[in-house]
Every structure is written in C-alpha cells, then in structure tokens.
C-alpha cells in the first residue's frame, strides 16, 4: 500500500481520553481530497489577480470558473468512484469544485478500505471524536488520484484565548525555570 500521510503526527492530545475501539457498524464520515488539475495555472492566476501592477488585478473567478479550472480529471473521478463502489460505498457528497468527497460508511468498511486504519473513540469533556491511532494506506493505484483522507488522525483544535493573568503566571514560571 501507499501511505499519503506517513509524516502525520499520531499523538493523541493530552485532553482526549481513549474510550476504546468503535463497533464495526458505527458510522463514520471520511473526507477524500481528490487530486486537482491545473494547480500550476492556479498559482499563476492567483499571482495575477492579487498583484496591483497586473492588468488582471481584481479580476476574480466565479465558483463555476474555478470548478472548470481545478476539478479532478474524469479518470480521477471514475477511478475513485469505482474504488468506493467496490466496497459498497455509495451516495458520497461532493462540492462545487468536485475536488472533495464526503462519504458515510460503517467503521468495518473504512478499515478494509484504508488498510492499517483502526478506528477508536476518544472523549474530551462533552466532545467525542473517532480517530485512528495508526496510519492508513491506500492502494498504490490511487496515489495519483487522492491527496489525503480526512477524518483519521487530526483531532479538533483546542486553541483558546490567553487571559493575561494566566500569561503572567506562565511568564513567571518560565523566568523562575530560567533562573534555576
């Protein structure tokens, strides 16, 4: 198999508590990022529409024009749909630019679809998340059609605003540590 995200951290954030594996029939929503076309052209286009010295400055694309530019090739769309169909996964939702697919499937199917993945449930306060603590792979034939699969490793962000009181405590602790 091919591991598109072998460098993704698999660390479970400290605030998330492991509850155990999910049941085989528990439903998951996975997001497939399909390989786009004309990305090099998009880079140049963004440079021109954002550069005040360019005659194309401010001549932005509509969502339809953007779709025409970046939508995945027919080969990519048919290969991915065939692959999902072979596992009985149907009715995936796409977006206007056709470059993402969101599919609902039982955990057992997801584990067969993405060899290596094992889905577990985690909890942080009132929130729960299903993630795989081990990397997933894809069939090598999909390497040129899929950028990554979302919903396996990255936990929801826990970033919070700083209150200056806590910032001061933190700074004091740092300086004490430094002095020591």
């Amino acid at each position: 198999g091919w591991a598109p995200e072998q460098d993704q951290s698999l660390r479970v954030p400290a605030e998330w508590r492991h509850l155990g594996p999910v049941a085989p029939l528990d439903e998951l929503v996975l997001t497939f990022a399909l390989r786009q076309q004309n990305v090099e052209h998009l880079v140049k286009l963004v440079g021109r529409v954002s550069d005040p010295d360019s005659p194309q400055y401010g001549k932005y694309l509509s969502l339809e024009e953007l779709r025409t530019l970046v939508q995945p090739s027919l080969l990519t769309l048919s290969t991915v749909h065939k692959w999902l169909g072979a596992y009985g996964i149907k009715g995936c939702k796409t977006i206007s630019t056709l470059d993402f697919l969101e599919c609902v499937m039982p955990a057992s199917t997801a584990e067969r679809l993405l060899p290596g993945a094992q889905f577990h449930r985690y909890e942080s306060g009132q929130r729960s998340a299903v993630r795989s603590p081990v990397p997933y792979t894809l069939h090598e034939d999909l390497a040129e059609h899929i950028d990554f699969v979302g919903g396996l490793h990255r936990f929801p962000a826990e970033r919070k605003v700083v209150t200056r009181a806590s910032g001061k405590e933190e700074a004091t602790a740092r300086y004490q540590q430094r002095a020591a």
Partner: protein, 372 residues
C-alpha cells in the same frame, strides 16, 4: 486613560472616526469557530450597548452557518464576533460554526469544504486556529494551501491568527531545540496577523510587540516572491538574530501585519471580562478593518481586496508610508535554553517576524488600498 482595550480604544488608536462604518448592504465579513464554542446574541447586544455607543454598528449576526447551541457561550467565539463587528462596524457579519457535525469529521476541513461549496460568501474571513507545522502531514498542508489559493482566486481575504507562543519551541530527537512554526499561519496564501500591546497599558500610546505574538519561518513552504525583499532586509539589518539552526530563513515568513492583542474587554455569558489577550483578538480587529476597506472599494466600483499580501508588501516597499504604524520595540517568546534564553525574534524598522509590517492606520491604509 483607559482600563483596557475596548472598541473605542481600538478605533481611536487606528484612527477610525465615527463615520468610518459600513455603508453597503451587500458587503459582509465572517469569523470561523472550530471549537465547540458558541456566541450568545445577548452577549453581543450587551457588549455593543456597553462599549459601542459612540459609533454606528449592528448588534446582531446576520447569518450563522453551521450549528449554534444554546449552551454556555465561549470566550473565543464572543471575542471574534464582538471585535470584528466593532472595527467592521455596521457590516453584515456571518459566523461559521464548525465543531464537526460528526465525531469522525475534522472541523477545519469541514469549514474549507463549506467555503469551496458556497457561491456567495463574505469577502473577508477571520480565523483563529492553528496547529504546529510538524504535527501535520505535508500532503495535508500542501492541499490546504491549494484551498487558500482557490479562495484567493475568488477574491476572498483570509486572515489567520499568528498564534500565541511567539516563535514556539520544539525539542528534536538529539535534544537540541528549534522554533516551531504554526500552520495555516505559515501558508503563503493567507494574511497572518500578529499581536501588539500599548507601550503604556493604560493609555492610547504607540505600540510595542506582544511577547506572545506568533511569528517565524515555515519549514514547509518556501518564501513567496512578494515578501522576499522585505524579509531579506530584516535578516540583513537585524542587530541580533537567533542561531540559524533554529529557523529556516528561506521559508515563508509571518506574520504580515498586526494589531493590539493585549488586555481586551469581552462580554461572555452576560459578564464583561477584562484581560483577554492573544492574536485571536487582533485577527478579527484587522478583519473588520479590511471589510471596511472593501466597503469603500465596492462603493467606488472597485473589486474587493482579495488576497492582500502582494498589495500589502508592494505598498510598503514603494517607500515611506504611514499606512501602517511600524512596531519597532520588543521581542517574542521562544525556547528556554542557553542559546536563545527564551527570546525568539525582535521587532525592528520595516517588516519583522513579530509584528509584520505593523498595525493599521486606517485613513492612510484606506487611501493606499483604494489605489494600490
């Protein structure tokens, strides 16, 4: 004299007059939430009643995309909404609330999909979210970067908070340290907002860097052409730099600009709270200002600002300008070790990796961006 940052303090510092409010019904701005946090309309109304009586404003969010629960309000959500609607006053405001509908979804990814699926979205998006670059796969970051290019091609201005850990710090396997850049702040296709504080915390004085202001150099994305000259100038002229082993001097450098990030008042769960800080505060402030500039551009029949960085760096490099207040004092946090002793980069004249180009001087910035 003031007892903390409120909308009137911000408007005074950045020279927004009472007349500097939105006038167009079809202009809009947005902030996005990825934590399971909600704002309360009653908090927003109370905040505006307490702090926004001197200028025209709206007291209600026009559109919530996603799920808004009725539970306890979150500080972060309240902060975003209250301040984007204070600088971008009287501008229609949307809130994207993406805690993830399903427990296997990634909330940030869900927001990106929404953005790429709606034909009509606000022109300006303020986002306070970030992860350590080294915790994310390259495939994921490169693809998300393309999603920001897609937004730029549509004329959207996407602003990200630079983070609250200064240059950050990462211990490598051998025991040595390096700085720790944050993504999406390090994407070359977003505008990244750092943080500052008043020199005198109780007066509307000039600004110095906020020591928590995130900034540095990407280890993933190479330096884009639009900022090469500015960053080179910084690297050549800074009196003191951290050892080269701590950062990738050829990477995308951030932040691009900054705003006050220290000592804000926020109303949450009906209680006015002081001492709220972070680049989560400065980002919606800049977001509102950019939405206001879009308002004036749209009134003149000009297109919206879109991806701001090429115009911003060009404007600053043309020569002396008072469109942004240059922040030249202060350093931010980094690794606590003998080599850098807790200090990352320091601010200096022109662009620097703590405060970018500096903080907005609205009338001059408006003038410059009406005809870049």
């Amino acid at each position: 004299f003031h007892l903390g940052v409120t909308p009137s303090v911000i408007r005074k510092r950045y020279n927004l007059t009472d007349g500097d409010i939105g006038a167009l019904p079809n202009n809009s701005q947005a902030c996005a939430q990825f934590l399971e946090q909600y704002f309360h309309p009653a908090d927003l109304a109370e905040f505006m009643k307490l702090f926004a009586s001197s200028f025209g404003h709206r007291s209600r969010v026009d559109q919530v995309v996603g799920h808004q629960e009725l539970g306890k309000a979150g500080l972060e959500a309240s902060l975003d909404v209250e301040y984007i609607m204070s600088t971008g006053a009287n501008i229609s405001t949307w809130v994207f609330s993406n805690a993830g509908r399903h427990e296997s979804q990634e909330p940030f990814l869900a927001w990106l999909l929404l953005l790429s699926n709606m034909s009509s979205v606000p022109w300006v998006h303020s986002v306070s979210y970030g992860d350590d670059e080294d915790s994310l796969s390259r495939a994921y970051m490169e693809r998300v970067n393309v999603e920001f290019m897609k937004a730029a091609a549509r004329g959207l201005t996407v602003l990200f908070a630079s983070g609250d850990a200064g240059a950050g710090c990462r211990k490598l396997a051998g025991g040595s340290h390096t700085f720790r850049p944050s993504f999406p702040a390090s994407s070359p296709y977003v505008t990244t907002v750092g943080g500052t504080a008043f020199k005198n915390p109780f007066r509307v004085t000039w600004e110095v860097t906020d020591y928590i202001s995130g900034g540095g150099f990407s280890n993933v994305f190479p330096m884009p052409d639009y900022q090469a000259a500015a960053v080179r100038n910084f690297l050549h002229s800074a009196p003191k730099l951290p050892p080269l082993s701590y950062y990738n001097s050829s990477g995308r450098a951030y932040p691009d600009l900054a705003a006050l990030s220290d000592n804000y008042w926020v109303v949450t769960n009906r209680i006015p709270l002081p001492w709220v800080s972070g680049t989560s505060a400065s980002t919606p402030v800049v977001g509102g200002i950019m939405a206001l500039i879009n308002d004036r551009r749209l009134q003149k029949g000009l297109p919206p600002l879109g991806f701001l960085n090429p115009a911003l760096y060009k404007l600053q490099e043309k020569g002396p300008t008072d469109a942004l207040y240059d922040v030249t004092q202060g350093c931010h946090l980094s690794c606590l070790d003998a080599a850098v002793e807790g200090q990352g980069f320091c601010a200096g004249p022109s662009w620097d990796p703590v405060s970018g180009w500096g903080t907005p001087n609205f009338p001059q910035l408006l003038k410059a961006l009406l005809n870049p």
